[in-house]
C-alpha cells in the first residue's frame, strides 16, 4: 500500500513537471508569435506612416509650387512690359499695379530702378498693394530714406544672380505684420543692362494654414524651414522667424540628430529620420520645395504612430494570457482525469487480481479429483467445469452419506462476482441441508426458502438435485428449472422432470420430487446450458441433438466427458466461450439385486395434497400385485397417519413438508413418514373406545386406532429434530 502511494506521488510529480514544461513552451510560443507579429506590424505601420507623410509632403509642395508659380508667373509675364516701359519711366508705375491687380495671390509688387540708371529718378520704386478693406490698388513709394531699397535682399540678390530670386521670409512691417516672401527678377534694357528689379510679394499666412491642415496623426505637426534655416512655420509661434533650427537644436537634448536633419533639409534632400526630444521619440519626414529653398517636414510622435498597434498588442497579450490560463486549466483537468484513470486502472488491476483469487477459491469448492471413489466398483463419476473468462456461476457437487450419493448441478443467472457469490452460497447450502434433509425435494425446498429470503438482487439458480441409493439404484430427484439430465440406459433419453421454478425466485414455491430406478450400467449425464448454448462463429448453437449424439455408448464416465469436450470444441472452433461449460456424469455399476426397493412422496402440510396418497399407494400396489382390499386399507392407514401430521405437526398457517418413504420388501411393506414439526407421538395417544354408544363416542381418536388395526407394527421416534413414524404391513 505504501509502495503504491509513493508511486502515485511520483507519477503526479512527473505529470506536473510535464505540465509545467508544456505551459512554458506554450507561453514562449505565444510570446514569440506576439513579438514577431508586433515587429512586423510596427514595420508595416512605419512604412505606411512614411508613405502617408511623403504623400502629404508632396501634395503640400504641389500646393506651394502652385502659388509660387503664380507669383513667379506674375513677375515673369510682366517683365516684357517693364522692359517696354523703360523708355518712358513714368509709365513704369503701371507695371506693379498690373501685377497686383491681375494676381490675387500677390499682395504687393514693386519695380525698383537700379540706382542711377535713370537720371530723372535716381531712386525710383513705386509699390502697388491691395487695400485689404476696399480691394483697391494703392500705390506707395519705397524710395524713402528710411527704407533704402537698394540694400534689401530682394534687390541685391537678383541683381547679383542676374536671375529670378525668392527672398528669405520676412515680417512686413509696413503692411499687416504678415509673414511675407518676395520673388524678384531683373528687368533688362536693350543693352542687356539691369535697369530695374520687378517683385511680387506673397503672404505666407496660407502656408501656416496649409501646413497646419496636415494631420497625419493626432499629435503630428508640420514645419517649414527657409534655406537659411529660419523657422517659417511651426506650432510653437514663438519660434517662428525668431530662431533658426541650428539655434533650436543647440538647446535640444538630441542636438546631434536634429543638426543632421537640419543639414539634410538645408541641402535640399528628401528623407526621414528618428529623433528623441524631451525623452519622447519622433519620426521626422522632410522634403524640399524647389526654387524657394524651403524644406517642409512632418514630425510624428512614435507614440501616436504605434498607438493602434500598441492597443492591438495589449488585446493580443490579454488574449494570450487568457490562452495560457485556458491551457493551464485544460492541463489541470486532463491530469486530474489521467490520475483518475490511472487510479481506476490500478483499482481494476487489483480487482482483476482479486477476481483471479475468487476464481481460485470458487474452483476449490468444486470436486476436482476423478475418479473420486477409486475403491468403489458400484459408482463411477467424472465431471468437468470450464469457466468462461470471468468467475462464473456454474456449480456441481456430490458426496456419499449412508450409502446414498447426494449430488447436484446448478447454474446461477448472470456472471461475474455476484454470480460467483450466489454460486458459493448455493453450494454451501446444498452441503449443509443435504445432510439433514435426505430427500431432494426437501433439500431443494429448504434451499429455495433460504435463498428467496436473502435474495434481494433477484438472482436465481437453476438447480438439479438427486439422491441415488447406491444399493438399490433408486434415484430420487428434484429439478428446479434446470436442464433435464440425460438418462443413459438402453434408450438414451432426457430424464422426465417436473416444471419447477428455479431457486431464489419465490419463497414458498412448491417443488415436486420425482424418482426412478437406475439399472446396472445406466448412467445419468448432467450439464449446464453452456453446452447446449455453445456458439460457433456463425452463431449456431450446439443444441440438444448434437449433445445426445456425442453421448455414444462408450464405456467409462471419463470417456464420455472427453468425447463431449471434443464434440463441443470441434463445433465451436475459434469462437470465444461466452458461458461456463459444466458436465457431470454418474455411472451406476452395481450388479447386486437389491433386497428392497423404495418409493418416495413429498407433500406439503395441506389436506389438498391428500389425494396424492391414493395414487402413491396404488402405484406400489400395482408393482407388488396387492389386492384391492389391502390397497384400500394401506391407503387408509397412510392417510390417517399423514392427516395426523398435517393437522398437528406444524403450527396453523405455516408451510411444512411431509416426507413419505415406502420400503418394499419381499414379504412386507413399510411406510416411513417424517416431518420437521413439533414433537408429536401419535402412538402415545389413547385409542378410541369403539365399544361406546353413539351418544358417548368421541369424534376424535379414530385415525391412530385405524392405523394400529390395519398395520402389523407401528413405531415412533424423534430423531434430528424430526418426527419419524414407521409402520409395517406383512404381506
Amino acid at each position: 500500500m505504501k509502495k503504491k502511494e509513493i508511486s502515485e506521488k511520483k507519477f503526479l510529480g512527473v505529470s506536473a513537471r510535464g505540465g509545467l514544461l508544456l505551459v512554458v513552451v506554450a507561453i514562449i510560443t505565444l510570446e514569440a508569435t506576439g513579438l514577431i507579429q508586433y515587429y512586423f506590424s510596427q514595420r508595416g505601420i512605419k512604412q505606411e506612416a512614411s508613405l502617408r507623410a511623403q504623400s502629404e509632403l508632396r501634395s503640400a509642395e504641389n500646393e506651394i509650387m502652385g502659388i509660387v508659380d503664380q507669383a513667379e508667373g506674375a513677375v515673369r509675364n510682366s517683365i516684357w512690359i517693364a522692359e517696354w516701359c523703360l523708355v518712358n519711366p513714368d509709365s513704369l508705375v503701371r507695371v506693379p499695379q498690373r501685377v497686383v491687380d491681375n494676381n490675387p495671390v500677390v499682395v504687393g509688387s514693386t519695380i525698383a530702378m537700379t540706382p542711377g540708371y535713370n537720371k530723372k529718378y535716381p531712386l525710383y520704386s513705386p509699390y502697388a498693394t491691395r487695400d485689404t478693406e476696399t480691394g483697391k490698388i494703392l500705390t506707395l513709394s519705397l524710395a524713402t530714406d528710411e527704407y533704402d531699397y537698394p540694400s534689401q535682399e530682394w534687390f541685391t540678390k537678383p541683381l547679383e544672380l542676374q536671375d529670378g530670386y525668392w527672398s528669405e521670409p520676412y515680417y512686413d512691417e509696413g503692411g499687416g505684420n504678415m509673414l511675407m516672401t518676395t520673388f524678384s527678377m531683373p528687368v533688362k534694357d536693350n543693352n542687356g543692362e539691369v535697369a530695374a528689379i520687378l517683385t511680387a510679394d506673397i503672404s505666407l499666412e496660407w502656408l501656416t494654414e496649409l501646413m497646419g491642415s496636415i494631420k497625419v496623426y493626432p499629435n503630428a505637426f508640420s514645419t517649414v524651414v527657409s534655406r537659411s534655416g529660419q523657422i517659417m512655420v511651426c506650432p510653437n509661434e514663438s519660434l517662428v522667424m525668431n530662431k533658426s533650427v541650428d539655434q533650436f537644436a543647440a538647446e535640444s537634448d538630441d542636438s546631434g540628430v536634429l543638426k543632421s536633419i537640419n543639414e539634410a533639409m538645408l541641402s535640399g534632400q528628401e528623407g526621414e529620420m528618428s529623433i528623441r526630444y524631451h525623452g519622447e521619440r519622433f519620426r521626422v519626414y522632410f522634403a524640399p520645395v524647389e526654387r524657394t529653398g524651403w524644406s517642409l517636414s512632418i514630425v510624428v510622435p512614435e507614440k501616436d504612430m504605434f498607438a493602434g498597434v500598441r492597443k492591438v498588442g495589449g488585446v493580443v497579450i490579454i488574449l494570450q494570457l487568457l490562452g495560457v490560463v485556458m491551457i493551464v486549466i485544460i492541463l489541470r483537468v486532463t491530469f486530474r482525469n489521467q490520475m483518475k484513470y490511472k487510479m481506476l486502472n490500478t483499482q481494476k488491476e487489483r480487482m482483476e487480481k482479486e477476481l483471479e483469487i475468487a476464481k481460485g477459491i470458487q474452483m476449490s469448492m468444486i470436486p476436482k479429483i476423478f475418479p473420486p471413489y477409486p475403491d468403489r466398483g458400484d459408482i463411477d463419476i467424472c465431471a468437468s467445469i470450464v469457466p468462461a473468462k470471468e468467475v462464473g456461476g456454474d456449480l456441481f457437487d456430490f458426496f456419499i452419506l449412508d450409502e446414498k450419493l447426494y449430488f447436484c448441478i446448478g447454474d446461477v443467472s448472470g456472471k461475474g462476482v455476484p454470480a460467483s457469490l450466489v454460486m458459493a452460497v448455493t453450494r454451501s447450502l446444498f452441503r449443509t441441508l443435504a445432510v439433514h434433509e435426505k430427500s431432494p425435494g426437501r433439500i431443494v425446498t429448504a434451499m429455495n426458502e433460504s435463498m428467496s429470503d436473502m435474495n434481494e438482487s433477484t438472482m436465481f439458480v437453476t438447480f438439479f438435485c438427486g439422491v441415488l441409493d447406491t444399493k438399490s439404484g433408486h434415484l430420487r430427484y428434484c429439478n428446479a428449472g434446470h436442464n433435464a439430465p440425460v438418462l443413459l440406459n438402453t434408450t438414451k433419453s432426457l430424464l422426465k422432470v417436473a416444471s419447477n421454478v428455479p431457486l431464489g425466485i419465490v419463497a414458498g414455491a412448491v417443488f415436486q420430487e420425482q424418482e426412478t430406478d437406475l439399472q446396472y450400467d445406466d448412467a445419468i449425464f448432467l450439464y449446464t446450458d453452456g453446452i447446449t448454448e455453445a456458439e460457433n462463429s456463425k452463431h449456431e448453437l450446439f443444441g440438444e441433438e448434437r449433445m445426445l449424439n456425442a453421448l455414444s455408448n462408450l464405456k467409462g464416465s471419463r470417456a464420455h466427458i472427453e468425447e463431449m469436450q471434443k464434440a463441443i470444441s470441434g463445433f465451436v472452433g475459434n469462437a470465444p466461450q461466452s458461458d461456463d461449460i459444466t458436465m457431470f456424469i454418474i455411472h451406476y455399476l452395481n450388479e447386486a439385486t437389491p433386497d428392497a426397493s423404495e418409493r418416495h412422496l413429498l407433500i406439503h402440510n395441506d389436506i389438498q395434497q391428500i389425494p396424492q396418497l391414493a395414487d402413491f399407494v396404488e402405484t406400489i400396489a400395482a408393482e407388488k400385485h396387492l389386492d384391492h382390499s389391502l390397497t384400500l386399507n394401506l391407503n387408509l392407514a397412510l392417510e390417517e397417519a399423514v392427516t395426523n401430521v398435517i393437522m398437528y405437526a406444524y403450527p396453523e398457517g405455516t408451510d411444512g413438508l411431509v416426507d413419505i418413504e415406502a420400503i418394499i420388501r419381499k414379504d412386507s411393506l413399510s411406510f416411513v413418514i417424517s416431518d420437521s414439526g413439533k414433537a408429536f407421538d401419535p402412538t402415545a395417544q389413547p385409542d378410541a373406545d369403539v365399544s361406546l354408544s353413539a351418544e358417548n363416542r368421541q369424534v376424535g381418536g379414530l385415525g391412530i386406532y385405524l392405523v394400529r388395526n390395519i398395520m402389523d407394527s407401528v413405531s415412533y421416534e424423534r430423531k434430528n429434530g424430526k418426527n419419524i413414524l414407521t409402520m409395517t404391513k406383512n404381506i
Binding site: 384400500l632 387408509l636 369424534v699 379414530l702 390395519i710
Partner: protein
C-alpha cells in the same frame, strides 16, 4: 365425491358416490349439516357406491348420528361395500347405525 340428497316427507335419502377421504370430508361438511337438519325424521345413507372412507368421513357419520339422537330421528346406513363395511366393523360403527 358426490352426495345426492332426496327428501320425501319424513324420509331423506342421501346417495354417497366416490371416495370420502379427509379432503372430501371437509368439502362435504355442508351437505352433512343439511342432512342433520332432517335428522328429526329418517335419514338413509345409501352407500353402495361409496368406495372409501377415512376417519374424517366416519366423523361426519357420527355427528349426523348424534344429531338424530338429539332430534329423535334415526340414521340408516344402507348397502355398504365389503371394504367400507370392514372399516365400520373395525371402528365399532356397525353398532352405532342401523345397517341395511
Amino acid at each position: 365425491m358426490e352426495i345426492n340428497i332426496n327428501t320425501q316427507g319424513n324420509e331423506t335419502v342421501a346417495t354417497l358416490i366416490g371416495r370420502l377421504d379427509t379432503l372430501e370430508a371437509q368439502k362435504m361438511t355442508g351437505q352433512f349439516d343439511k342432512l342433520a337438519e332432517k335428522a328429526g325424521g329418517t335419514v338413509i345413507l345409501d352407500c353402495p357406491q361409496l368406495e372409501y372412507i377415512s376417519s374424517s368421513g366416519l366423523r361426519l357419520f357420527l355427528t349426523l348420528r348424534k344429531a338424530a339422537t338429539t332430534k329423535g330421528g334415526k340414521v340408516i346406513v344402507r348397502g355398504l361395500s365389503s371394504d367400507v363395511r370392514n372399516v365400520f366393523m373395525i371402528t365399532g360403527f356397525l353398532n352405532l347405525f342401523e345397517i341395511q
